[in-house]
Symmetry: C2
Subunit: 334 residues, 2 copies
């Protein structure tokens, strides 16, 4: 069991494991399991994961058996659990509640060798559609306020398994970074009556110095104030706060651009480990005028860590103009 | 040359290298140089660093020659440069300015083999006094608003050299995380007319569940909402916003507690890589009632990264109560 614990100064909620704390030996053990023995995400290992919540599979195949194209399962080692109530309480200066929420894994392909960027366009469309379907489904649970979709690729980016997968965490609170984005966007909007992301998109297209690639519905660029070398944002051209409201046609364009971005990264940076995080609005009935969903992709190239964590600012050794130029110049295999 | 660039939504300023951007090969090169060839921080290598700004050395020794006990030099590869003016300007939605500031290295000992925790108490006192002296000295420069003192130990914690050293970065802006702390503390103070850190200190001592060790002037504890496993904060008992106002007697107690904390970490976690960051008030004439300087130490045990960076919340697999118990139980060599 875990608890959500709040920092009384910063207002940040962390997920803290209280019942089975990882001890000094746990960290090296965790390192050892990666890449070992049988993969729980391959055909024939379906019993190694909790039962599937959602799957793409032929009508004549058995649930939790092989034959599937994509599977969504609860995380076997969840950061949060779906059962129970929140039990919000305080103790002196500290606020906390039970670690209630959902933690799911999207197994993107049965093929152990293929990474997301290797998949066919229809297969990537299936992955993004699974993101949408699961996001919408979890809205039925009134305890949950935010759905976070993200992907870790490579050991140094925090992936414990190499088989291509994404994760979904649904939370009873809106994470600090999202709250900051919402507040910052709100301030910008109050001042100018325009969405800051729409403004950024327009300026990036006009300047054309940091754009990596684009298509009818999406643009990929290295943002002006990039926190990390070769950081890439993918932004929909149409103003929309909530990713889950994406249209079927836009999913096609999103998949196409994401495949291109991953291809360019692979060529320019020799298959770097990376994380991406889908930034979207909280679960709420209204559509915010000031917010704009997008995907932030961070190749894991630098080791710098504690300093940045401690200060909230980043030292980026690679200007985004330079990164974008290199990514644009990458010759993709046809 | 670098630029300070602002995120128009989050208001975060990053340091972005614009003149000599690090390319795809740079990241592996950076990896290779670590631990190689001659150490620039040992006796006889003084010419490998820029000329010293401050040093503890016998009266009959030559500046920038051997014989010193401690040296402070400008960083040879500075993130910011001390020359020039800020040149604040905007371009569309983006705000930026020149990368003006100071970036210094505190070489803590001439002994290549010793880490900070191995040093004698008087030597650690010298290190902390150097922090104070350099902080006070840089206040003469009216362009600077914040002095950041931090230490990276171990490759995976971002240290590029193993010889024991700390860093100082003086900035023309107050970093985002510090601003958040100041605002959060202010909100807390408005509500209760008490410093939140004083409250935390009192509660930790009363509960005595997360205290690692303490002495007359300082307490070390694993905070309730710890972001990372075995995270440790060192807080002065006396309310004081600005580290640079520490008394000579308190420096002694700070050094003693820091040495004990590092000793306990070494025993409990087998010499982990770590970062520590000294959190203190901005450069300003007033003494804030609501803020309380402290040191945050983060052992680098987990790989999880992009997700936490992207969301601003942390999944901590080790409850601080468990971590504190282990650290308290560690038997120090006498």
């Amino acid at each position: 069991m875990s608890e959500l614990r709040c920092d009384p100064v910063l207002g940040r909620w962390n997920i803290v494991e209280t019942e089975q704390p990882l001890g000094p030996d746990g960290f090296s053990i965790e390192r050892r399991t990666a890449g070992s023995s049988r993969c729980p995400f391959c055909y024939g290992s379906e019993a190694m994961t909790p039962p599937e919540i959602y799957a793409l599979r032929p009508a004549d195949s058995q649930a939790n058996g092989p034959g599937w194209q994509l599977r969504v399962v609860p995380n076997k080692f969840p950061a949060l659990k779906i059962e129970g109530d929140l039990g919000r309480r305080g103790l002196g200066v500290f606020d906390f509640c039970n670690g209630v929420g959902a933690h799911e894994v999207i197994i993107e392909t049965p093929d152990h060798q293929q990474q997301l960027g290797d998949l066919s366009l229809p297969d990537i469309v299936n992955v993004l559609t699974a993101y949408q379907v699961r996001s919408l489904d979890l809205r039925g649970d009134k305890r949950l306020k935010y759905t976070l979709l993200f992907k870790n690729v490579g050991l140094s980016a925090g992936a414990s398994l190499e088989h291509s997968h994404s994760q979904l965490i649904a939370l009873p609170i809106v994470p600090k970074r999202v709250q900051e984005e919402l507040r910052g966007a709100q301030r910008y909007f109050e001042f100018r009556d325009r969405c800051p992301y729409c403004d950024m998109l327009r300026q990036e297209l006009e300047e054309d110095e940091r754009v990596v690639c684009d298509n009818k519905s999406f643009i990929a660029f290295c943002p002006f104030m990039s926190n990390f070398p070769f950081e890439i944002w993918v932004l929909p051209r149409e103003h929309r706060a909530d990713f889950a409201h994406i249209s079927a046609e836009q999913v096609q364009d999103f998949a196409r651009l994401l495949k291109e971005v991953l291809g360019r990264l692979r060529v320019a940076l020799a298959e770097p480990p990376y994380n991406y995080i889908l930034h979207t609005a909280p679960i709420e009935p209204r559509e915010r005028e000031e917010y704009h969903w997008h995907l932030e992709l961070i190749p894991k190239l630098t080791r710098t860590a504690g300093f940045e964590w401690g200060t909230g600012f980043y030292i980026n050794p690679t200007a985004p103009e330079f990164a974008a130029k290199l990514l644009r110049a990458a010759v993709l295999p046809s």
